[in-house]
Structure formats: C-alpha cells, structure tokens
Amino acid sequence: MNNNENQTKADFVELGFMDARYKLIDVAAFLDRTQRAGQADDYRVRELKKAITCLDADNPERAKQVLLSLSDPSEEPIAIAPGKGAAGAWEGSASS
C-alpha cells in the first residue's frame, strides 16, 4: 500500500538537496583521503565503491540495493561469533 496518494507532496528537493549534496561530497572526500593514504584496497572501501554503483539505477530502490550490496549474502549460521561488532561491509567467506 502506498501511503502518499492523498497527501500534498512536499518539495523534497528544496528540503533535502543541500543535505544530500554535502553527504555526497563527504563520500568523495573520504575516497580521495583513503586513496592518498594508500588504504583504497581495504575491503570496506572496495565494497563502498561497489555499492555506489547502485545509485545509478533507474528504479526508486537505491537505498535497498545499497544495503543489499553491503550485506552478507550467505544463509547458514557461522560456527562461532568472531566478536560482537559489525564492520558495515561483508568481507566475504574468509570472515565466516
């Protein structure tokens, strides 16, 4: 069910453009910074760059696709929890 059929649409560009603009520049600056420091091969940076390609899609599910891109796609429970924290990107089978 779509909930916005009966509402007056807000001006989302006016509300959110400047916010999105500075976040995009932050991402670009982060990639520049990690590259200058020789850290661009970190799997998290690689996975982030891969996830960024989801922004170029035409359907309005970019947030979902970015989240899926950064997720562990496996289905079986792992043998032992390696710790408590999450890294934000899936390193691959080597981490399971």
């Binding site: 069910m1 779509n2 909930n3 916005n4 009966n6 509402q7 007056t8 649409k9 807000a10 989302f12 509300l15 959110g16 599910e61 947030a63 979902k64 989240l67 899926l68 950064l70 997720s71 562990d72 796609p73 496996s74 289905e75 429970p77 792992i78 043998a79 032992i80 929890a81 390696p82 710790g83 408590k84 999450a86 890294a87 934000g88 990107a89 899936w90």
Partner: protein
C-alpha cells in the same frame, strides 16, 4: 533507560511520551555471571519503574539474555533459568529483545530456547535483528526460527531494527516491524518516513534508541516532525506514533494506557 540520566525521563514527558518500554540489552561489556543478570533484571523491573513514576511516566520492560551475550552457552543457560521469575513481574511485557548478533550457531540455539520459553507462557516477543552487514541474513534466520514454533502467532511478535532491505521479510509473514531511530549509522527519521511512504502504516512502529551509545531519546518526536513537514496527516502520524504501539502492546494484559 538504565544507561540514561533522569533528565531524559523529563524530556520524554515534556515531549508528550505516554509510556516507556525498555528491552533487556547488552551493557557494553559482558556480565561475568548470572548474578549480574539478576541485578540487571531487578533494575529493569523494580528501580526503573519507580524512577520513571516520579514523572508520571509508566515504565514497562522486556526480559531476556541479549544475543550479544549468548555465545557462552553455560552462562546463557544459567540466565535462562532465572528469566521466568522476572517475566512474572507486573511491568514485564514479554521476552525481548531476543534475536541474533553475528548469526552464530550458539546464538541461534539460545534464540530457540527463548522462543520455547515465550511459547510455553504465551508471551509477546520483541526481536533484535543484527546490525549492518549481518542484518539481512540474521533477519531471515530469525523469521524462520520463530515460524518453526507453530504455537507462536506472528501478530504477537515484533521484529525490530528493520531497514529498507529487510522490512518486507517479516511483514510479508504477518509479523509487526519496528524501525529503531539513531542519529547516525542506522535508520534516521528521514529514512523511517520514506519507509512509511513506501510500505504504509499497518503493523509498524518507530522507537528511539536510548542506550549507552550515541542515541537520542527524542528521535521519535523528530520523526513526527519529519512526517508533518512532508505533509502527512495528523491521523497518520497518530497511528504510527501512538495507536500502533498501543495496539501491539495491549495484547499483553499488563499493558495499560
């Protein structure tokens, strides 16, 4: 609210909050024995309700061993033994927040034990889904584990911390879902408003993360402001912020509002 100051209770009341529901969670460090959990559960069921009552705010809780501490099976079993006594507390609404953290075999075993306890007592269930890259897999494992217990009705379970890639997994099976709002790193009020626009307002609520990390007890009112700013109706905002949580929680006869 055990990790918050009393000022936060005052702010919640001033913002129009009608009741607080606090799940058992990880303290930021591992407790060393079941005695530590006994003290913590006592704090949730006795001290916090009294602290909130000073401001006219009803305080309810959920009791369990958080999945972050279920890797140690022996400790988990000791804690599971004391849980039923605390579930009997007059302000305890059910078992929660159970779930998974790193999606390990031991975490899954302890999750299943919690589900058995809830099924045997016909308790409501509040579920924690894993963070970040572990959320998708964990949400699927949790939904399967609960559906494997046929006496549990999905409408008596809320799967919390859903995001854009997981919201449909439990909702399509008849579960309630919760969006936990954080100032950073996870679901923001803006994204919660987006999900409500896309997925509608049935069987869904929002809650403010109020733990020892960077979190904001007034995140739900912020989301209400975001919805209002987008032109959503007063009726819709009241349903998501107030009537939906009341409808789910009122399935427990101890919950009065």
């Amino acid at each position: 609210m055990v990790s918050r100051t009393t000022d936060d209770y005052v702010k919640l009341v001033q913002a129009g909050c009608e009741a607080v529901c606090e799940p058992a969670f990880w303290a930021g460090f591992d407790r060393s024995s079941a005695k530590g959990f006994f003290d913590y559960f006592s704090q949730l069921t006795k001290y916090e309700p009294a602290r909130a009552a000073k401001f006219g705010l009803p305080h309810y809780c959920w009791i369990c061993l958080n999945p972050k501490e279920s890797e140690d099976i022996k400790l988990a079993e000791d804690v599971l033994e004391i849980i039923p006594d605390f579930l009997d507390s007059p302000t305890c609404l059910g078992v929660g927040e159970i779930g998974l953290n790193k999606n390990s075999k031991n975490e899954l075993e302890i999750l299943e034990r919690h589900i058995e306890i809830a099924a045997g007592r016909d308790e409501l269930i509040l579920v924690h889904t894993p963070h970040l890259e572990d959320k998708l897999k964990g949400t699927k494992l949790i939904v399967d584990a609960i559906l494997n217990q046929p006496s549990i009705r999905p409408e008596r379970v809320i799967i919390d911390h859903v995001e854009e890639h997981t919201i449909s997994i439990p909702r399509d099976k008849g579960f309630w879902v919760g969006m936990t709002l954080y100032p950073e790193s996870k679901c923001t009020p803006q994204r919660a408003a987006d999900m409500l626009e896309v997925h509608g307002t049935e069987r869904i609520w929002m809650n403010s993360a109020c733990d020892w990390g960077i979190s904001n007890p007034l995140a739900v009112p912020e989301a209400a402001f975001e919805l209002k700013r987008r032109g959503e109706t007063r009726e819709m905002i009241d349903k998501v912020l107030y009537r939906n949580p009341r409808a789910f929680l009122s399935q427990c006869p101890k919950f009065k509002l």
